[in-house]
Point group: C2
Chain length 402, copies 2
Amino acid sequence: MPEIPKERLEKYLNLQREFKEERYINLNPIQRGGVLTDAAREALLEFGDGYSTCDWCPPKTPRLDAIKRPPIGQFMQDLAEFLGMDVARVVTRCREAQFIAFATLGEPGDYVVVDGLAHYSAYVAAELARLKVKEVPHSGHPEFKLDLDAYAEKIEEVKRETGKLPAAVLLTHVDYHYGNLNDAAVVGKICKKYGVPFLLNSAYTAGVMPIDGKKLGADILVSSGHKSWAASAPTGILALKEELIDRVLARSKIVGDWSKHEVGVKEYALLGCTVMGGPLISLMASFPHVVDRVEHWGEEVEKARYLIEQLERIEGTRQLGIKPKQHTLTHVESEGLYKASQAHKRRGFFLYDELKRRGIVGIQAGLTKHFKLNTYGLTKAKVEQVAKAFLEIAKDQGLTIK
Amino acid sequence: MPEIPKERLEKYLNLQREFKEERYINLNPIQRGGVLTDAAREALLEFGDGYSTCDWCPPKTPRLDAIKRPPIGQFMQDLAEFLGMDVARVVTRCREAQFIAFATLGEPGDYVVVDGLAHYSAYVAAELARLKVKEVPHSGHPEFKLDLDAYAEKIEEVKRETGKLPAAVLLTHVDYHYGNLNDAAVVGKICKKYGVPFLLNSAYTAGVMPIDGKKLGADILVSSGHKSWAASAPTGILALKEELIDRVLARSKIVGDWSKHEVGVKEYALLGCTVMGGPLISLMASFPHVVDRVEHWGEEVEKARYLIEQLERIEGTRQLGIKPKQHTLTHVESEGLYKASQAHKRRGFFLYDELKRRGIVGIQAGLTKHFKLNTYGLTKAKVEQVAKAFLEIAKDQGLTIK
């Protein structure tokens, strides 16, 4: 039996997070929508023990979505309705939701058409499902605007090359590079015309802004609980139109050759049950808040625009991506701060240091020329504090402020 | 935008768990090893916010196992060492670990040889990886003892039928039906002889009893944090021998056809990052306790044997599976309690009612003839209380007590 020396275990005692919400203003682009509500915090602890969701698992249909206490089954129905979809499942991650869709809709060697700004998880999900990707281009610097009409061309291209339609089409509703919001309905229409399932990755939109899958023509809508639904990681959302249930949520058909054992009640691509503990319950506990907060999306965008306006006062600084911003995830290009970094003894790290000294974190250490931030859920006062900090830092470095 | 009426959201306020550890003696067979430590409870809350593990994600190697604050990378190394393996990853579930192994070691249509008592997740994992299963038989009622030598025959059978070896061999170290402990080293030797990767499913063993993967000849060892490591769901463990790292943890090779985008740092079958929040941290926080508790496995088995001895005093009642018990998960067959249920107005539910009235839960409601329970981690006093309750209930029903 291998032995681990006691001293090596000391580092696991009293695990603390430095960048707690109450201590810092955290601008980390992937973290703002995943800050828990108080209700989620309590629920997480209440259902902290492993398999704590399974106390009332019905023996004849042992599946998460059949559990009534806590109301997991009802939650999945409410979740589907909230997204304008017909059925929903909570899976372990948005990327797993993408993989499940790809693996069940495609055969090895098939194509998926994705946008050229898709998250890396779309690529690895396709890879694991043994599919190939064909990308829809964007306009490049500085707007990085996707050519949504090109989805039709790309579908045609796949058809010409392989003799069959792509297994699915994926659009990243808001991308993680520039925070550009795409008009998903355009792609929805193209997909409908070709009869190709349309997967909308709403990891950065559903849960923070209003989404109606039906209106957007989404056949599959995936999202991330820990990114945008005030839930703990790992939690993903897989929502479907009725027409795809039989394929994407197909029941297991495998039979043991000797035992004749079958597990026909389980949805095989989900591997049966998914999130059987705290994170699922945190998602449920935050749901009433999320239903409410999406109505205030306009105010969130206003705060982001305010910060950009202030940052753009700094010499050589501008927001990349489509203007005006329609999302809180922002990509900043700053020749000015970069110039300052070249003269600074801490080089690119000076910006991180100076922000942290002012209680602001979440911008990647070392970056000045291109960096990303997200203001979602910060009060106006905190956003003003961030703006003030940047202006001060720039001024201290001798940069011109407009 | 779809609207959810306010009343429908009320059920998500104040989500409570009835069967909390401090309130009931819970014998649920899947839950005993997943009760959190106090340290895990604190850590879970500390890292409750989504993506809270990612504050210090290194930009050049953005992967969970590269994170040093909190010490996630070091944890994965300690975890591998503790299991007698070379490398470990925390994935979302034990079943995902099985799937990752199957998907990376097999090609669609390949076989995996599994034991006839394997968990359903082994079957759906094979199904999702597009593999077929061939089962090793067991002896049936009452011992359900696996014929471990038959692994050699089954490997030969696959070779004859398909012209190639199975993609992998799976043994369930302790099965979930009868809690039989298998001598994994026997299968390890057979696999070594044939050169077939040996996957040991230690969901019910690693984390509660001492395991040395090297000694057992395991090439892949999978386990479940929420089942046996005092961690929150969902958490799985995937541990490997060095020889398999390149295959099972292969880096992504997919390239965007237009963007030339690559994500070669990501382990594609894991879909990149896995558990980026609280449950992983709960697993880490409980680790010092787990390292200690496996040394006390003998006492746990003693308590289980004590309860069985007491239950077998009830008319027509016996433990199924191999005797004497070598694990705390126990399958009880009771003709006596079944007989009593036939005469009871609540039929099979009387047993559940009577136990619950005495503060004992976790045995499936409605069952009397065959039911499962697990005493892991209960104090001797609580186990005695369970024994006393059963004997009282049986006596009240007019059954003979030896």
